[in-house]
């Protein structure tokens, strides 16, 4: 499993097609991957395992999301006002 992720990360070009978000509006895709990255980090850190596999979600949201959204959400997380559930 970890080897697949490493291979996928090395061959990463852009976010792949996600059947959950098939239409033109990819806002949810961006939001979902941002949440998944931080949830994955939190879950794997709590288990004490290596959180390198979470890197996949980070690459995908970096490909999809506008930088201003990422900065805004990072600031909100730092302040504790982030609206999503992590």
């Amino acid at each position: 499993m970890a080897e697949d992720i490493k291979a996928k990360l090395e061959n990463y070009r852009t976010a792949p097609f996600d059947a959950r978000f098939p239409n033109q509006n990819q806002t949810r895709n961006c939001w979902s991957n941002y949440l998944d990255y931080h949830r994955c980090q939190k879950a794997l850190d709590a288990k004490g395992a290596d959180n390198a596999p979470c890197e996949w979600y980070r690459r995908v949201y970096k490909s999809l999301c506008p930088m201003s959204w990422i900065q805004k959400w990072d600031e909100q997380r730092a302040e504790g006002t982030f609206p999503g559930k992590i």
Partner: protein, 82 residues
């Protein structure tokens, strides 16, 4: 009101297809809106019990009516589990 319409239709029977087409169009529009409201995974009705409905879809589920280039049977889940 229905009686008036029926009387007028009897003297102008050519208007009957009009009712079929307009009625059919209305029904189709309402059905599409209902499909969007109830089946679309982006729509969340119940935030407490079903907060992220798009996560309930398998990677091979097809929501769109017609898939041009995507072979849905070959898709797999991309990210790692945690």
């Amino acid at each position: 009101m229905l009686a008036t319409v029926r009387k007028q239709l009897r003297s102008h029977p050519a208007l009957i297809p009009l009712f079929f087409f307009i009625g059919g169009g209305t029904v189709m529009s309402l059905m599409y809106l209902a499909r969007l409201g109830l089946r679309n995974p982006d729509v969340c009705w119940d935030r407490k019990n079903n907060p992220e409905p798009w996560n309930k879809m398998a990677p091979t589920d097809q929501y769109k009516f017609y898939a041009v280039n995507i072979d849905y049977s070959k898709l797999k889940k991309q990210g790692p589990d945690f």
